[in-house]
Assembly symmetry: C2
Homo-oligomer: 489 residues x 2
């Protein structure tokens, strides 16, 4: 059961904005360019953990933010108190209305470096202002969804439970982290409010403190089995897993559940050597007739440990994953950026470029669309093609694509179909998109794994999925590059 969730009704995050967005906005006004139409791309440059792809997430929260973007009386009062802004600017903010067009890639989609995930078109003052929240929202949830996707794949179909709230970076880190982890493929969460808000199943049984509260372990287990005969999952590592925890659990299962015809749910181990303990535990449980009793593991897990212990034959039925998932510990930053890519001059789109000595850091200019090209016979994704918006792909003819840097690397694609990745979300400030439920996003994301080749899914040295530019876009980019190179000589 999910309750309606509209966090902007409860929270005013309008001023969760880098202060330079406000000084620039005021500056645009002072220079009379506030209504110049600008195009911004949000994109990223590198997949965390050197993985092959990321999972788009966070769009629903970004939409909520944009839908409700306004300055309260308190916000205005605060900005006035800074004594840095003109009255006309303050007046503009008081009557602020979001009128941008926004395109985005739906949540759950596999995404690749260099692709615009969100495009904003509108008056520069507005399109600039939303930068911080676009980055913050998409960076965070995409980071966690991507990490969860890795961990879930490592678990080879065994359920992964998100257990990280206590180690998250702030409340939203826990709440939206649980959401993103579910999108990435986790089956459930320990974070109760995530079920209330998003319908993600919340699970949990006992902590070590339950066991400690009683005079000894077996009394604690008995108390639990009596309180929850139908949900009897015992934490067996408070004192000693093999000498005390498992024997006591078996005894209590036999005393309290078997006579009532109830099967125990399982045991949880939260410390020690996973491979060694689970093999021994499995045997002890099996020998006692409890081969249907699950073993849950929850000790500083991540995709590498899960892969290792499974390959060693550890006997595990599900994984509770905490801090290393909820903070994406191995690489806790998703480096999305938001760059100006075009402005309109006299109704014409003029592409803009940001130069860098590092080729990957040079932006792709112009107002764009992304096509994902699928093989008709296998439904596998072959490549993504970034084009100018409005370019049409003729699926009936062979399509030549080429690497945008090593241009001699070419490929001709036949027997394919093309899907647009960027969907229009806002039309002149009006939301025209309905976010699917989080469950639907998760199902979609899981289904997308079948469209990726094993070479892209691999953890170590995955194949670089092709993200190419259309000839038209590539040519325009070269022209702009040449212009700046010449002007420097």
């Amino acid at each position: 059961m999910a309750f309606t969730f509209d966090w902007k009704e409860d929270r005013n995050l309008t001023l969760l904005v880098d202060f330079y967005e406000i000084t620039m906005a005021n500056g645009y006004l002072r220079n009379g360019v506030e209504n110049k139409t600008a195009y911004f791309d949000m994109f990223f440059r590198k997949v965390p953990d050197d993985g092959g792809f990321c999972i788009m997430a966070g769009l629903q929260q970004l939409i909520e933010y944009m839908k409700n973007l306004k300055f309260t009386k308190e916000d205005i009062e605060f900005l006035k108190s800074k004594n840095e802004f003109d009255d006309t600017f303050i007046n503009y903010l008081e009557n602020f209305e979001f009128t941008c067009d926004v395109w985005a890639i739906p949540e759950g989609t596999p995404i690749f470096p260099g692709e615009p995930l969100v495009i904003v078109k509108g008056p520069i003052m507005q399109a600039q202002f939303v930068e911080t929240m676009i980055l913050l929202t998409i960076n965070h949830q995409t980071l966690i969804a991507t990490k969860a996707n890795r961990i879930v794949r490592a678990a080879q179909g065994k359920p992964v439970l998100e257990f990280g709230s206590r180690r998250a970076q702030g409340y939203d880190g826990a709440i939206f982290g649980a959401r993103a982890a579910y999108i990435g493929g986790c089956t459930s969460t320990a974070c109760t409010i995530a079920e209330k808000l998003f319908g993600i199943p919340a699970v949990g049984t006992m902590a070590h403190s339950w066991v400690q509260l009683f005079d000894n372990e077996i009394d604690a287990f008995r108390a639990w089995a009596r309180a929850y005969p139908d949900n009897c999952l015992l934490l067996v590592d408070t004192y000693n897993v093999l000498k005390s925890g498992i024997p006591n659990a078996i005894k209590v299962f036999n005393e309290e559940l078997v006579p009532k015809g109830i099967r125990p749910k399982g045991i949880r181990i939260d410390s020690g050597d996973i491979k060694y303990l689970t093999e021994k535990a499995r045997k002890m449980l099996d020998d006692a007739g409890f081969n249907d009793c699950s073993i849950v593991i929850s000790n500083s897990l991540d995709e590498y440990i899960i892969r290792d212990v499974l390959s060693q034959g550890a006997k595990i039925d599900s994984f509770g994953v905490g801090e290393r998932l909820i903070t994406a510990k191995s690489e806790p930053v998703f480096g999305g950026v938001y760059k100006l890519v075009a402005v309109e001059e006299n109704g014409k789109i003029v592409p803009k470029i940001k130069i860098s000595e590092n080729a990957e850091k040079i932006t792709n200019p112009g107002f764009k669309q992304i096509y994902r090209l699928f093989d008709k016979s296998t439904n596998k994704a072959i490549a993504d093609l970034i084009t100018f918006a409005g370019e049409v792909i003729d699926e009936s003819k062979p399509l030549k694509i080429f690497d945008p840097i090593y241009t001699w690397k070419k490929k001709t694609i036949t027997n394919f179909y093309a899907k647009k990745l960027l969907i229009k979300i806002f039309d002149k400030g009006k939301c025209i998109y309905n976010s699917p439920s989080v469950k639907e996003i998760r199902d979609f994301s899981i289904s997308q794994m079948d469209t990726l080749w094993d070479e892209v899914l691999r953890f170590e040295n995955p194949h670089n999925f092709y993200v190419d530019l259309s000839l038209k876009l590539w040519t325009a980019k070269q022209k702009l590059l040449k212009k700046f190179t010449l002007s420097e000589e």
Copy 2:
């Protein structure tokens, strides 16, 4: 100007709780032990980045949470919908009233592994329930305050500006991260709402998009200098710092500001080799007569890079630090835990212990206090002594302390004074503590650096500050340990 801030009035985070806290609570009730008085300690085991100490932070938000802890109608409706809980339990939650005693170490205090940072005493149902929010709140802000403290110390007195919102892990990661960074010693933030809520100065000027919006860099700089003559800090790396950015900045300073008798504020460099560029930039600015013009650097900085470039003689006036601060990238998890340490039986406190094969993971039993012992002549902290609550330190006599594991390591302390670290925050559910302002906490935290020896402040292999147990506490712990060891043999 700081506005009143009471986030609990706006947000209901009661169900931001690990689900097992709720199943346990219901289980306590089913077993009739719900009102047993329990003592829990929140503590941590390891300083991130192998540093010498941490900075306590987050208490104010924890207090807000505890003050406002109640279950709304929606929360109750949600929990009922799970069909797992008894009517008496639901009824208990509907009438929930927080009645615990809470002690905590004030924010800004240097803290060490093994020390209780927060102690909760109360009916087990309540004291257990607050676990997730205690850990989440203190873990997050302490992590960031500690990281900020490191970065600020590396900067050797030069201002450090917190610039990380866009890469934070969720909205609270940005907002409370900015708060914690300020407590850790940052001078300001880019996060506007952090000024509105906490009075932390918010700063910022322009992004690359400002420069790109105009036809060329010099027009962009002119537009800025005209809009903000008194706050003219120019971002000089959109195209080429030395060939274009600095020459254009100097030209605009001379054209737009000098004739009006206004001095430029500075330049900002966001890419490239910091040491090389700042030395060249400094010389160019000085040669042009702008030796009062600051150089701000903001490119993936952390304490190690700052220390390195300063030791190489880079010419930097202030540092904007983003993702590596706001996520504590090098070690993004603060591993605080919350453990049952005692229960009351017939009005007597019975200490409890959690055993582990790892000596550091064994908990310190009982209801405790911490004394920090200071040298009277230097005011430097000599050691912390964890005692049972109620133990008194006689400052007039030499005090013998000893290492709790390597007990032959002894020290006799003379000419000292002792300060209690744990302050009572809630008395039977009533808050009796007024949080200082964030500015006051920051000042206090900075002043505390003088109490630490250089050996503790060092980044690499810092001295392990002594955290010892009183003889009484140590003896009680050994007794409990022996009891469990015997019961296993």
